[in-house]
Amino acid sequence: MKLSIDFICRAAGIVMLSRVLVLFFLSMAVHADERWTTEKASMVDSIEKQTGLSRTSIGTLHLNMRPIDADVLFRKDPHDTSSFAVSIVDDAGEMLKGRIKVSGSFTRRFPKKSIFIKLENGQQWKGRQKVSLDAMATDGSMQREWLAWQLVHALGMPGPELQYVRVYINNRYSGLFMHTEWLDTGVLARYGLGADGQFFHPSDSRFCGDFLPHHKKTLKDCWFKLSPRDKDFSPLQALMDDIAQTPVKEFHEYLEMHFDVDSVINWLALNVLTSNGDTYNKNYFLYRSAITGKWVVIPWDYDLSFGRNWDAYLPFPENILNDNFQYFYPPELGAPNPLKEKTLRNPVLNQLFTERMLHLLGEKRHGAAATFGWFSPKAMRERIDRTAIRLQPERIDDPYLKDSAIDFSQETESLWHYVQRRHAYLREIFTGAVPWNPELAIWNPADAPPRPALSVSLFASQQVSANGQYATIAAPAYGYLLAAIKLKDNNGEAAKFNVESAINHTPTVFPPGYDPASCIQRSWFITLRTPFKSRVMDLQLDYLQEDSQRQELGSVRSEQNFTLWVLDGQRWHKLKTHVNPLSNVISTQNMTIHPSQMLRFVACPESTES
């Protein structure tokens, strides 16, 4: 008995001690987070002072040109590379002389073109001789690059500063642009990497900056050496050989020795979160710091991300410019690249990557508080809405956007829909609910045969909290979102729903007078499984338009005309419907559902109603 009391006392002591220790470490972590946040704020201030670029305000840039040059600049033949004399009027009213030309490759065909200004030697604006202004022409939301770079900066990765700027040419408003700091070794030096390292960039037009062994012979065609300006590609050659020769199981040791591992993990995480498939063979930079002796990856170009999808079955330029949408490509998406694949397959690096993903998704903390849940729907919603509010008035006066067919609110909403869905999909992947085998991590849709059409019924059952937020209901083992439900009756009680989708099927039951072939080739079924109380909900239902082959649009392609119908067991009811054709989401609000009632939904075009 005495022994037992002694044992209990000792055990209680250990428990107390462990609690004290836990509290101590927690408080240390909190202090560390506060310190990190303070340091972060001070770093942002310092960067704004150094670069003159603000992350929070919209700047103004006044340019002076000959009237004929200004007239021609945006209207000339897209492939002409001529430059024109220009002056930047700086804050003191001084004229900084230089040359201006249209920049970019694919985006040159848009009416609003990105521009590049090189000032004469000795002249600088905001501390830079080169000024790059991105027209964001391929991104109707004008936020994709912005959001991606905000994450880059939040993660502490080296990268250029950005600022939205109003550009005036000869005092006439020429639109809102993104001033992207010219990426050179000066930027990298700001991150403590020195300015005398080896700086490489894959060629944008060759699609071979990927370390694949068969591109070894064409290394100098596949890459540009940006600094120093010599012909020495031996560092890159050695890197390519090392990556090829290092076995997967030792790849973490190799990466630790020769790379800034965080930059690789963060690069992959950024591409996975934004679903950026337009990379790994181009659209990134590699820098080997002379100070650290290690390679650093700097991401680039995120305008075709956040759900945008390349279409292998359409000719140029429709293969790039389309309203396809996807959020369900696995983490290996993007061109084949052994650096990516070996990182994903190596157990140590994969663990690191998984932890980074869970951290950014807000599922489990593995890093600084400021980035925990950075990609959570709530945080992203705030970020997107805040930026949209800033951009909306600018667009009204933008001469290239005010009369365009782009629906800004639709574009913004599709970003938000993407985040909701991508978050749900990745959460399933990284919590293990959807199987993902990094051993199979090779992704090359261009070489892949067309995948079989989905012709299955997907089912999910889920508890939905009454927290005023949309709950995403994804099909287990697939990750496809079936529906998102927000409970509207604020009684605080959660409710359980069964959701089923008959995918890629012509509706077998449909409203009278409609041609089912013209309806979206999917039916949705929602059942309230919680007894006793009817519930009121807002509802988002998804359909598929991954590309021109894998889609459920039926014979009518004008998505704006679709109206949602519900069969309550007895009669069809037409619902007030909102369609977002960019994200392929059909929404309705204030839908009442009774316990055990199964509602059947179909979406058919207005014009075919007889």
């Binding site: 004929i68 040059d69 007239d71 021609v72 209207r75 000339k76 033949d77 492939h79 002409d80 590379t81 001529s82 430059s83 024109f84 000719p315 140029f316």
Partner: protein
């Protein structure tokens, strides 16, 4: 002795290379404007032969020798600015017919091309000066025209958007007036061509050109067909061509052409091979 042989051989080689890379503007105005600082180089060699001639009443007549003429041309174009493209060309010839022969550097051409449409490429004006080089200007067997000339013209190009793996068409045309200092007759030059791009394989083309004299001066005495440009002559010629890319910057073109109708001109068959290098790709 060996040194002399080497020296002679070296000079011949140098001359051969020079000939191969010499060029002149062989058509009326070209429609394509170069971007600022863009460089374009074109070199071609043509072989012409024939033993008939269109006389001054446009009747075909047999001549007493078959001519065998090699013409070499080269030109460079440089985008001075968005609005102006500078042009320079040089020609050379090596020709013989019976006992007559000639070899030498022909005329230098210097010109400027400008935009007729400030927004779109493919519509341009062009002014070119033709400058004789050091050959004897009154020699009836001379490699150039022998007079200072001024050529002014306009040209246009309409082409469908070129995409990889997609067939497309393009049409091109141009007219020019060539004025000479001195007695030769002034001329009106024109051409019309059509090209069909067969996806990434190459381009097949057809071209018809018409050179007509204003007959405001008497014909000059010349022994070789191409020197008749200074004379009172008319010529309608057709050619077909095939062109293809060697790589991103280099292209080649082969063409075969024949005079369809003429006056005071040799009835020649012409075979040509050109290469070009475009720094803009």
């Amino acid at each position: 002795m060996q040194g002399l042989v080497c020296s002679t051989y070296f000079k011949q080689l140098l001359f051969g290379v020079a000939m191969l890379t010499c060029a002149t503007i062989v058509q009326a105005a070209s429609p394509w404007m170069r971007s600022e600082a863009e460089r374009f180089y074109w070199a071609g060699v043509t072989y012409s032969t024939g033993d008939q001639r269109w006389d001054d009443k446009s009747n075909q007549k047999k001549v007493d020798c078959r001519n065998s003429d090699w013409y070499m041309h080269q030109k460079i174009e440089y985008g001075y600015s968005y609005y102006y493209t500078l042009i320079a060309g040089l020609s050379a010839a090596s020709a013989n017919c019976g006992d007559d022969s000639l070899t030498g550097v022909g005329d230098l051409t210097l010109g400027i091309r400008g935009r007729l449409d400030k927004y779109r490429n493919g519509k341009s004006w062009e002014i070119t000066t033709i400058i004789p080089t050091g050959y004897e200007r009154d020699n009836s067997s001379r490699p150039g025209n022998g007079r200072f000339g001024l050529e002014a013209g306009v040209a246009w190009l309409f082409k469908e958007e070129e995409r990889e793996l997609v067939n497309s068409w393009s049409w091109q045309g141009g007219v020019a007036i060539r004025l000479w200092q001195g007695p030769p007759a002034d001329q009106f030059l024109s051409y019309l061509s059509v090209q069909h791009r067969i996806a990434a394989v190459g381009k097949i083309g057809m071209r018809i050109s018409g050179d007509f004299s204003f007959r405001n001066e008497s014909p000059e005495k010349t022994k070789f067909e191409n020197r008749t440009r200074l004379t009172d002559f008319d010529k309608v010629r057709a050619a077909v061509s095939w062109s293809s890319r060697i790589n991103a910057r280099w292209s080649w073109q082969a063409n075969v052409g024949h005079v369809l109708w003429g006056r005071n001109v040799t009835d020649n068959l012409t075979v040509g091979l050109n290469i070009s290098h475009d720094w803009s790709q």
